[in-house]
């Protein structure tokens, strides 16, 4: 039987995620030299088919994303997601290349992979530090696909229970918006709740 998070768990996790996203935003601000505005994180316990419904508002079109699998104390997947135009503008600012040029296309995946690596490690590493649990990461993977395929691919069975965390950010001056999405799967979910209990 899987433990269910209480309101206290959710509140604590929201605070921990806020700290991690703040660290990630600070890193992104360091890279682009413009303020990054964060929205309050959204946290829900869901079954796999509900994840798509919750994320549907991100759109049915293809999105640019960097995903990072993690395991250790907790298991799941972290994703940094951008609408394609936002991704192009961000890469152009970071590399100095002109949007829409072949040169920009050639560095797009590598640059976004590094951005995803820094931001997602910032969120997850901060969570690991607060909860004093070690998290191991897979290599970041850049892809362009629908949100349904980006997020729910992998070994999620019908019985998997998911803790979905989503936070949105915007860099107004660059017209760049994006989302950070974390999925904690069952099993790890219990260890996550235990770690939150131990830390508070």
């Amino acid at each position: 039987m899987t433990s269910q998070p209480t309101l206290r768990h959710i509140d604590a996790l929201k605070e921990f995620i806020n700290i991690g996203v703040g660290k990630a935003a600070s890193s992104l601000n360091e890279m682009v030299n413009f303020p990054v505005t964060l929205h309050v994180p959204f946290i829900k316990v869901l079954e796999p088919e509900q994840v798509n419904v919750e994320l549907a508002e991100l759109g049915r079109s293809r999105l640019a994303s960097v995903t990072l699998g993690f395991d250790g104390a907790f298991t799941g997947k972290a994703a940094l997601v951008f609408p394609p135009d936002s991704a192009s503008r961000l890469v152009a600012v970071l590399t100095g290349e002109e949007p829409g040029t072949p040169d920009l296309d050639s560095v797009r995946a590598g640059t976004l992979n590094e951005v995803g690596n820094i931001l997602l490690n910032g969120v997850m590493g901060s969570l690991g530090n607060i909860l004093q649990e070690r998290i191991n990461y897979s290599l970041p993977l850049y892809s362009e696909d629908t949100v349904a395929n980006l997020i729910t691919s992998g070994n999620m069975t019908k019985n998997t229970v998911i803790l979905l965390v989503r936070t949105d950010f915007i860099i107004r001056q660059l017209e760049v918006e994006g989302n950070i999405i974390l999925l904690f799967t069952v099993g790890s979910f219990d260890s996550l709740l235990s770690a939150i209990d131990a830390s508070s």
Binding site: N117, N121, G125
Partner: protein
């Protein structure tokens, strides 16, 4: 001026580090993977190595261990997105001279390199 080897699979990350190091006139060697990094370190030993941790094939921990065995006098500065305290402790335990979070700040990176190179001369 010193010769500094940067081992990182991200060309974007290498270019940022290279730009900062060149401000102090350092000669920068680059390797995009661990195997190439270890070969350059063996064939043209640099004064200092800047090493990423999260890389395909041979990760930074393995490279750090190998360098500690084969070239213990070359200081290694870890520059990584992994901000976990346990990772920092592990790297220092494996012989890293310093540990910096990505994205590296220009002043922090340049000062750390100067400190590490200064300590090496003593």
């Amino acid at each position: 001026m010193a010769s500094i080897l940067v081992i990182d699979d991200s060309a974007y990350a290498r270019s940022k580090v290279r730009d900062f190091l060149k401000l102090d006139g350092h000669a920068v060697l680059e390797a995009g993977d661990g195997a190439r990094g270890l070969k350059v370190a063996r064939d043209s030993p640099p004064d200092c190595i800047i090493l990423d941790l999260i890389m395909p094939e041979i990760d930074g921990f393995k490279i750090l261990s190998a360098l500690h065995e084969s070239a213990p006098k070359i200081p290694v500065i870890i520059v990584t997105a992994d901000i976990q305290d346990s990772v920092r402790r592990q790297c220092i335990g494996l012989g890293a001279a310093a540990f910096i979070h990505k994205p590296p700040k220009e002043a922090e990176l340049r000062e750390t390199v100067q400190t590490v190179l200064g300590a090496r001369k003593q």
